[in-house]
Subunit: 326 residues, 2 copies
Amino acid sequence: MTVDAQILRALRQAGEAPVSGADFAEKLGITRAAVWARIEDLRKLGYDIHASPHGGYRLRSAPDLLHADDLLAVLGLGHIIGRDIQVFQETTSTNDVVDKLGRDGVKEGVVVFADSQTKGRGRLGRHWISPGGKGLWFSILLRPPLSPQSATQITVAAATAVARAIRHKTRLPSEIKWPNDILVRRKKVCGILTEMSAELDKIKYVVLGIGVDVNFNESDFPVDLRSIATSLKVELDHSVHRAELAAELLRELDADYHRLLGGKFEAVADEWEQHCTTIGHHVEIAAGSRKIEGHAESLDSEGALLVRTQHGRLERIIGGDVTLRA
Amino acid sequence: MTVDAQILRALRQAGEAPVSGADFAEKLGITRAAVWARIEDLRKLGYDIHASPHGGYRLRSAPDLLHADDLLAVLGLGHIIGRDIQVFQETTSTNDVVDKLGRDGVKEGVVVFADSQTKGRGRLGRHWISPGGKGLWFSILLRPPLSPQSATQITVAAATAVARAIRHKTRLPSEIKWPNDILVRRKKVCGILTEMSAELDKIKYVVLGIGVDVNFNESDFPVDLRSIATSLKVELDHSVHRAELAAELLRELDADYHRLLGGKFEAVADEWEQHCTTIGHHVEIAAGSRKIEGHAESLDSEGALLVRTQHGRLERIIGGDVTLRA
């Protein structure tokens, strides 16, 4: 952990209680003047750190800014997802950055955020709008001991965690649209893109990309998307602190990844089904050149969607574009 | 096509008939002196090109050398695999080189050979011995319109094609060991490594890596491998022209890839089963931490192995290490 991360962590843990410069200096093994200099730098970033001459330092508020050290401080230790965090001002696509880390053999759990992406992408190479300051665009490196056939489990766990984090943080009624969208009031606020590098029977690594439309105004969306996309701000009528939401997302993602690794995918899938708009509905699914229509019955143990067609056959669908039918 | 490739192609098409310098100069749009200079360079590489003062040029023999232009000349046009060929003297792993081409959006069909690899690898990151001049180490970039679930089809098609090419070229009784080895007299002569980059429901690209132990002497193998590995030279008692074998391999691989793309995977699978040592035997399969024992019955439509366990259940196996049992 960097000095900044340790300072922020100590301030956050102390809450209303001030932390003295002497305490910092001793814990961090630096001079009180050096502590003062770090605090001054954090203040320049927008951290409102109050200093009383005899009492010490107190964090009054944090800026709506993605700061790797602060996210690490908020999350604490002992988890996989968020073990290491990097924040870029701008990148092509956070999935590309994390893919490179995966090839380079970096340990799982690293998270890469970008304030903005110049080539953000969704499923099948579709463009993903990701302007600066308006959303959370991040990717996570995972190395689950799964076959490529079971990779859908990762998307299911991620969707469950993201939907829960949004509910906790905003109280909005977030729902899941199979396989990879999070909706609020039938409009998309978040997309999940799972990419992997694999041998036939073994995943080498997964890049889990997540994009959340946090503080978009309605006018930030292209006209043709306004009927199907929304943001947390539009739905709440006020903006959301991105860094706080980011921490909540990473916490919940880590929790569900642990459930999955611990062999508790069924519990995740149960929660997923409770919040899913797809299960129990008549759906039409376009998967490549194929179209399947039927009743979405449930998820199977690998995360595939089981659809009963009009001929009574149960089809196992691993991906595609879902449309709800009346 | 380069000038060298065009010269070699014309010489090979003419066979015993000489091609005049004037013909070359006209076809290639260069001077007769320039033709002469190219021929001289080819001779330096070991191409035995006979020149008669009035008759013209004739190719008497080609060196046992991997030459991209000559492979392109031998293969001709109109195929996918071998559309473009690159030959490296040495590389880490040809799969790494082709993976990079895949990421860069290069069209499918490009083949990368290396005379030797410093970090050749087999399944699950195992080391693959790949010394210079002794074998064929190459990788092919493919972009099949398949889901990751069906990627085993690629390995099945590749194994079928490689086994056939070895039979054609050497008359050796090559057999397939599911999922990815080619054996001669129960010893491995070739391994196939299929790696992919994919979204959940769509392959972005496949890197098909193939390593053939062509001209190893028995003493070239580490002692502990001598009971399970062999080379074409050891089995034939004479060496094999690597470039000719390479051309035959690419031709057959292209043929089976076309069968697969044309929806004829079943025909490929039928041929595969005829030459497979695994089907019809009692096998033990180690797949990760799992061990499955039973009777290997057949392949399914996606290329997975169907094994009937002692409890009568049919298990669908997508990869693993197979041992034949008595």
